[in-house]
């Protein structure tokens, strides 16, 4: 286990170095610097700017400078907002994104798991068909469409919830539901298929023949094993939710990191794009790592030592 964790940490660092180097050089390869705007900047100012951001150094020096700062956790300044650094933007945006993200994760587990269990338990009955129908919709309808449909009905037609904006729990409901739609559907399908697998096993029969209540058989005996594939999905799910929020935040006008990211794309604010990409990569790689470790604890059959 220890060896595995150390191995994983090394590969994590490798991934991050590769991602940040790749993004750095890709950004440098873009024709036209960040200061080429519609209005021509006077040469003197351009020179000063380039000096300030070390653009006049050779490429390797710039790279070393950037990576050095990265080690210290400094992602550099924003090119468009003079007063802001990328770190400021992340510090401002990420808590907001994380709040909705966390709600969406919670929602998809609370809804998806029971739906999948019921669906497997009542296989081919109407309960199963209903769950499978809705989960297919959840998987097939893109989030931005779902978002606008929700906004239209709940915000405009019935006027129950605010259409967009940020402030208080009421503003979080629609974005969280929209974000949760896909993972909920996916978890429901995943739980269903693994639950069907487990329910046909002998030890379930044994448990039933011992006279244990059906509820206990399902929750204690079946679910404990059926939940493993769901745990493996946690890593990709977190990634899906946090990258999914790029659009949701933009649509709902939520000042989260996703909105800054998309705005930075519009503005071609390269340092912000770079910085947030690296930040997201770091966050998601870490999340994956934690999920993998968690998995090993949940499933005693897994020993990472043998695996190579």
């Amino acid at each position: 286990m220890k060896k595995y964790i150390i191995n994983r940490i090394f590969s994590m660092i490798l991934v991050l170095v590769v991602v940040s180097s790749l993004t750095f050089f890709l950004a440098k390869a873009i024709p036209g610097g960040p200061f080429t705007k519609e209005k021509k900047v006077p040469d003197v100012i351009l020179q000063r700017l380039e000096e300030k951001y070390h653009f006049d150094d050779p490429l390797w020096k710039q790279y070393a400078f950037y990576m050095g700062n990265l080690m210290k956790g400094d992602l550099g300044p924003s090119f468009r907002y003079d007063a802001l650094t990328v770190n400021d933007i992340i510090r401002k945006g990420f808590p907001v994104s994380a709040t909705i993200g966390f709600l969406a994760v919670l929602l998809s587990i609370i809804l998806g798991l029971p739906a999948g269990i019921i669906s497997a338990y009542r296989q081919n009955f109407w309960q199963d068909n209903t769950v499978m129908f809705f989960s297919l919709i959840g998987i097939s309808v893109p989030s931005f469409i779902l978002a606008t449909v929700f906004m239209y009905f709940f915000g405009l037609k019935f006027k129950i919830l605010p259409i967009a904006g940020w402030g208080g729990f009421r503003y979080m409901i629609l974005p969280a539901i929209t974000l949760a739609a896909y993972p909920t559907a996916y978890i429901a399908r995943l739980t269903r298929s693994s639950m069907l697998d487990v329910l046909s096993q002998d030890y379930i029969k044994t448990a039933r023949s011992k006279g244990i209540s059906e509820f206990r058989v399902i929750t204690m005996h079946a679910l404990k094993n059926a939940i493993l594939p769901v745990v493996t999905y946690m890593g990709p799910m977190i990634a899906a939710i946090f990258t999914g929020s790029f659009i949701i935040e933009r649509l709902f006008f939520i000042p989260g990191l996703g909105k800054y990211y998309v705005t930075a794309i519009y503005d071609r604010d390269y340092t912000v794009i770079l910085g947030t990409t690296i930040f997201y990569a770091f966050f998601l790689v870490t999340a994956n790592f934690i999920v993998d470790i968690l998995y090993a604890f949940l499933d005693p059959r897994i020993t990472y030592e043998e695996k190579k």
Binding site: I30, S140, F144, T148, S193, F246, I265, I273, A281
Partner: protein, 311 residues
């Protein structure tokens, strides 16, 4: 002579020997069914998959026949007739600058479907090549090649695609490239895993014993046997690619005007959707239907091509 004829008579009365062909033995022996035929038969039984297949064919026809289906051009504006509602002349109405929505949807289908198929094709090509070689050679080469894949795999597809689109600049060709680059990784992993297990099997040994070259073993023996999982992955990749294209267009990184994919149409529709929700809902329905069809078909193919996975 006499005796024999009497025997004949008796036999004819009780048991008449009949020819083998008349026995109808053939009906009892199942004719050998190939893997693909068998899969097709299983697929045909799956109603949802067939619905998906029929819808995909209809959508393809819709896209191919786009110029014939409507008298308008996709960028033809009619400024006196903005936001027209559904009518006979404009089946889905017109948009903010009087362009016929039906025509734009039909031409959008071309782009959206092209994105899906081309992305699947590119990733198929790279993935099979890369994964096949990696799995076949094995050892250190495999280790290094898979490390590279792992690195790619741990970065979310969306981040890769967005980054590439920012650098490559929006445009249809670049959408193809970006999606292709982003998606081959999953394909490579699957092919590699399959090849890895197949190359230990007896038929590979037999081929080797017969003196088949490595290249022949890989291309004629191993790759064809991985086709099932590859096709499943490719089918499920298409709706994903269509979604990503819609997503990219939605945040302004996809196809540029006046061309319009469904994502662009939906994105345009958002701006006026409080007063004209149809402009959003129509492309939305098309995107969702397409994704639904491909998901149906992909699920069906998984059941049909990989009976072991069947639930």
């Amino acid at each position: 002579m006499k005796k024999k004829s009497r025997e004949d008579m008796n036999e004819k009365k009780l048991f008449t020997p009949i020819k083998k062909e008349e026995l109808g033995i053939k009906e009892f022996v199942r004719p050998p069914v190939g893997y693909w035929k068998d899969a097709w038969r299983r697929l045909k039984k799956n109603k949802l998959a067939m619905v998906g297949l029929v819808m995909i064919i209809l959508l393809l026809l819709f896209a191919i026949l786009a110029p014939l289906l409507s008298p308008y051009k996709y960028d033809q504006t009619e400024l006196t007739n903005c936001y027209a509602s559904m009518s006979k002349t404009h089946l889905f109405g017109t948009d903010a600058i009087g362009r016929d929505v039906f025509t734009r949807i039909a031409f959008g289908a071309r782009i959206s479907l092209a994105v899906g198929f081309v992305a699947a094709f590119i990733s198929f090509f790279i993935g099979v090549f890369y994964g096949g070689i990696s799995g076949f050679i094995g050892g250190k080469t495999d280790n290094i090649m898979m490390r590279i894949v792992d690195i790619f795999y741990s970065i979310p597809v969306l981040l890769i695609v967005i980054l590439l689109m920012v650098i490559l600049r929006p445009g249809l060709t670049n959408v193809f490239i970006a999606l292709g680059i982003a998606y081959w990784v999953g394909m490579a992993r699957i092919v590699r895993g399959q090849v890895l297990s197949l190359k230990e099997q007896e038929f590979t040994l037999a081929a080797r014993a017969l003196g088949a070259s490595k290249r022949r073993i890989l291309t004629k023996h191993l790759i064809p046997n991985t086709m099932g999982p590859i096709i499943i992955t490719a089918t499920l990749l298409i709706p994903n690619a269509i979604f990503f294209e819609a997503f990219l267009s939605f945040i302004g990184l996809g196809v540029s005007a006046p061309m319009a994919s469904w994502g662009v149409l939906a994105s345009d529709g958002v701006q006026g959707f409080r007063s004209h929700p149809g402009l959003l809902f129509i492309p939305a329905i098309f995107i969702s239907l397409t994704m639904l069809s491909f998901n149906f078909l992909g699920d069906g193919l998984r059941d049909a091509l990989d009976p072991r996975l069947r639930k």
